[in-house]
Amino acid sequence: MRIGTAEKLRRDLTILLGLVVIYLGVAWFVPNSYYQLILTLVPIWAAFGVSWNILSGYGGQLSFGQASFFGIGGYSMTLALVYWNLTPWLGIPLGVIMGAVAAVIIGIPTFRLRGHYFALSMLAYPLAILYFMQYFGFQEVSLPMHREAPAAYLEFSDPRYYTIVAVGLLAVSVIACILVENSRFGLALLALRQNELAAEAAGIDTKAWKMRALIVSGMIAAGAGGLYACVQLVVTPDAVFGMLVSAQPVVMTLFGGVASVWGPVIGAAFLVPLSKLLDAYAGDYLRGIQGVVYGAAVIAIILAAPDGLFWTLRDRFFKPKAPAPLPAPHPAARALAVAAPSGVPLMKVAGLSKSFGGLRAVSDVSFTIAEGEILGIIGPNGAGKTTLFNVLNGVLPADGGTATLAGASMLGKKVHQVCRMGVGRTFQVVRGFPRLPLIDNVIVGAYGAGLSDHEAAEAAIRALHRTGLAAQAGVPAGQLTNKQLRLMELARALAGRPRLLLLDETLAGLGREECDDVLNVLDRLRQEGMTIGIIEHTMHAMMQIADRFVVLDHGAVLASGRPREVVEDRSVIEAYLGKKWLAKQDA
C-alpha cells in the first residue's frame, strides 16, 4: 500500500462494512420476490460496473466490450454445471479463471491499439463470441435443478440467500478496487490514463499495467456474469454477450462517478431498480415507455452531474481537507555533494541517425556527456534536437548508430526501460497528470524506478525539496503555474534517481526571473553531481549554465566545445543568424 493511504483505506473499508450490514438488514425484510430479485441484481451489476471502472475509469482504456468477460463467466459456470455437474460454487471461480485467460488472449493483440480503435475493437469480441455461441447451439441453456441438495448447487428457494451471495461478490470486488486504488497499481493506472507517454517516460511499464488491469477487470466481470446466470436460471447469448450488456457497466459507472470506488455502486443502486420498476409497471400501460423514461433519466442526470453523482455531490458537500505538511527529507540522503565534472564519459552517442521518409532529422550525430557536467544542446528550430532526445529515450527507434549509458546500449529499448537504466526525461510540452496532486505526480517517477512504497515516498519528498516545490505538494498539477509545472517534471525525473537527466526546453515560456529560479535549481543539481543534457533556445541562459555545447543544424552536429568557443564559431553564427548578418559583420 502507498504511504499515507492507511486512513483512507480504513475509512473506505468501514463504509463498505456499514453498507453491507444495512443493505442485508433491509433486504432481509423484503418479502416480495420481484423486489428481492432487484435487490440481488443491484450488487451483481454494481460488481460488473466495478470491473469496468478499474480498466476504463482508472486506467482510461475505454472498453465497450466488457460483456466478453461477463458472458464467459456466465457460460463457463452454466456449461460446467450442465456437462460436468460442477456446482456453481466452483463453477463461478472456474469462470473467473476463464475470464482471466480471456483477458490475456484479448489483451495481447488489442493493447497494440489506442483510444477509439481500442474501445471499438473491444466491442467486436463479445459480438463475435455471441454469434459463435448461437452457431454452437447454445441459444438458450437452462440450469438443471438439484432438488436433493439445492444449497450445494447455489440454488435457493428463498431468494434472500441469492442477495447475500451477490452482496458478498460485490464486497470482494469493491475491496479489490480499494486495494488497487491505494497502491502503486492505481497510481500507475491514473497516470497512464492522463498521459501515457509521460507515464512511460517516468519508467512505468504501461503495457504491463494495462494488462494487469484487464485481467483484474475480466475476473470480476466473469464472477458477476457467473452469478447472474445462476440467479436467472438460464443463459442466452444476447443476455450475457449482447451490446446492451456491455453498455450496462459503462452507463452505471459514468452515472455514479468514474474512477471512484463508489461510482458503480451508486450507479447500480439508482439505475437497476429504476429500470426494473419501470419494466414492471410503466411497461404495462404503454410498451416502450420504460425505455423512454430510463433514457431521459440518464440524460438528465448526466447533464446535471457531468462527472457522475459521486464527484458532483462530493464537490458540493465535502470540501477536501488541506493536505498535511510534508515531512522534512531524510537528512542522511541529502549530503550528496560530489566534486566537479570528473571527465569520465557517462553517455556516448556515435553515428546516431533517424529519418522520416526523405527527411534526415538526425544525421550521424556523435557526442558524449561526461559524468557531472551539463551539456547544452542548441540549434535553430527544426535542427533535430527533440528528435534526438526521442531516439535516445526510446520514443522513436534509431535508424543507425549507437548510444550507450555507462557502457550499456540505450537503443532498441522501450521508453520505460530506458528510464530504468537511469535516464530521466522532461518534455517540451509539459506532460503532467493534471488531476493528481503534485506529490503523486512525482511518486509516479519513483515507482517507475522500481522503488518500494516507503522509498518512493521518501524519494518524492526529497525531489520536491530539491526543486523547491515542497510547499505545493498537495496541489493538483492542473492548478500549478508554468514554472512549477516545469519544476514538477524535473522533480518527477529526479524521483526515479536518474544518473542522467535529459531536459527538453525546460525554460520555454518562462519569464526572466522564473528562468533564473529554474537555473538555480539546475545549478544546485550540478553541485550535487547530477549529469544533465539540456535542449534550450535561450542563449543567455545556456551561457550561464552549460559546461559544454553541442550545436545541431539540419540534424547534424555543427560544432561542439566550450560555450565561448562555440558562440564565436562562424558556422554557428551563420546557422543562427544567417549569412547576411555574418557578411555585414565582416564588412
Binding site: 459480438l127 507517454l197 459514468l254 425505455g291 430510463y294
Partner: protein, 318 residues
C-alpha cells in the same frame, strides 16, 4: 458444386457486395463525419438510420406527400428527402444535447468529453428506439417498390452462369454514390466544407480565425445525421424494419469508419464497402449464424494488422 454454379454464386455475391457496400459506405460516411471528423462518440447513429427509413416510409406510402410519384421514383426521392428532415433533427439534437458534452466545451479536458457523449447518446438511442416503437408501432414495415422484385440479367457469362442485378439495389447504389460524391465536393471545395474541416481539426484555432465553431459543429452533426438517413431511406426499399433496426447497423457503421481510418471521409466509404463485401462473400462459405461473426473477425484482423485503418494516418509528437 460444379464450376458453373460456383462462378455464378461468386459473381452474384460480388455484385451484391458492391451494391450493398455502396449503401453501407454512404451510411458510414454519416458516422465518419460525426465520429471520425468531429470526434463525437455517437451511439444513436443507428437510430438516425432508423429515422431515415421511417421518414422515407411516411413520405412515400399511404397518404404521404410523395405518394403521387408512384412506386418507381417515389421511394428514392423519399430516401433523398429523408436527408434534410433528419438533418434538421440532428442539428436540433446537437443544439440541445450533444453540444453540452462536445466541441469547445470539452476540448482539452481529460477525456475530451467522450464519457459524457457516450452516456448522452446511449440515452438518446434508448429514447428513439422505445419512443419509435410507441409512435411507429411494433409491426415491421417496408417501402414497397416493384423494382425490388425484378432484376437485370447479365450474361450468361460462362455456361449458364448469369449475374442478377436487383433493380432496387442498383438504383439505391447509384443514389448512394451520387450523394457521397456530392458531399465530397462540398467538403473539399466549398467555403463551408473548409470551415467544417478547420473546426474539426482544431476548434480553438478555428475560433481565432473567426469561424463560429458551434455553428459548424451543429451543421456537421446535422450533415452526418442526414447522410446516414439517406442511406436508411435507400435500405428501406429492400428490407423490412422496425424501431429497433438501428441496433443491427450501428456496429457495422463503427466497423466501417474504423476500417477506413478515423478522420477520413472517403475512407469511411471504403470501410463500409469492405463490410458489405465481407458480409455478402462470407455467405458463400459460412453458415448464416457465422456471417455476422465474420464481419467482426475481419474487422479485428484488419485493425490489428493496420491499426490506423485502411486510409488513416497516425502521428504523435513527443
Amino acid at each position: 458444386m460444379d464450376l458453373e454454379t460456383l462462378i455464378e454464386s461468386v459473381l452474384n455475391a460480388l455484385t451484391a457486395g458492391i451494391t450493398i457496400g455502396c449503401i453501407y459506405g454512404l451510411m458510414c460516411i454519416g458516422l465518419g463525419l460525426i465520429f471520425g471528423i468531429m470526434k463525437v462518440v455517437n451511439f444513436a447513429q443507428g437510430e438516425l438510420l432508423m429515422l431515415g427509413m421511417f421518414a422515407s416510409f411516411y413520405l412515400v406510402t399511404g397518404g404521404g406527400v410523395l405518394a403521387f410519384l408512384g412506386p418507381y421514383i417515389g421511394p428514392f426521392v423519399g430516401a433523398i428527402l429523408a436527408g434534410p428532415i433528419v438533418f434538421v433533427f440532428g442539428a436540433l439534437l446537437h443544439k440541445f444535447l450533444i453540444s453540452r458534452v462536445s466541441g469547445l466545451r470539452t476540448a482539452g479536458s481529460i477525456d475530451d468529453g467522450h464519457f459524457g457523449q457516450l452516456i448522452i447518446t446511449l440515452g438518446i438511442s434508448l429514447i428513439l428506439q422505445n419512443g419509435g416503437m410507441i409512435v411507429f408501432g411494433t409491426i415491421p414495415v417496408t417501402v414497397r417498390t416493384p423494382l425490388s422484385s425484378s432484376a437485370f440479367l447479365v450474361g450468361p457469362i460462362y455456361g449458364d452462369a448469369t449475374i442478377f442485378l436487383n433493380k432496387a439495389k442498383l438504383v439505391a447504389c447509384a443514389v448512394a454514390i451520387i450523394t457521397a460524391l456530392a458531399l465530397y465536393f462540398v467538403l473539399e471545395f466549398t467555403r463551408v466544407g473548409k470551415a467544417l474541416r478547420a473546426a474539426a481539426d482544431n476548434p480553438t484555432a478555428a475560433t481565432y480565425m473567426g469561424i463560429d465553431v458551434d455553428k459548424y459543429y451543429r451543421m456537421a452533426f446535422g450533415l452526418g445525421s442526414g447522410i446516414t438517413a439517406i442511406a436508411g431511406g435507400l435500405m428501406a426499399t429492400y428490407l423490412s424494419f422496425g424501431s429497433f433496426i438501428g441496433f443491427d447497423y450501428v456496429i457495422i457503421m463503427y466497423s466501417g469508419v474504423v476500417l477506413g481510418g478515423i478522420g477520413s471521409i472517403m475512407g469511411a466509404f471504403w470501410g463500409g464497402m469492405t463490410v458489405g463485401m465481407v458480409q455478402q462473400m462470407s455467405a458463400l462459405v459460412l453458415p448464416p449464424q457465422l456471417q455476422n461473426a465474420a464481419i467482426f473477425i475481419v474487422f479485428l484482423l484488419i485493425v490489428m494488422l493496420r491499426p490506423q485503418g485502411l486510409f488513416g494516418r497516425s502521428a504523435e509528437r513527443a
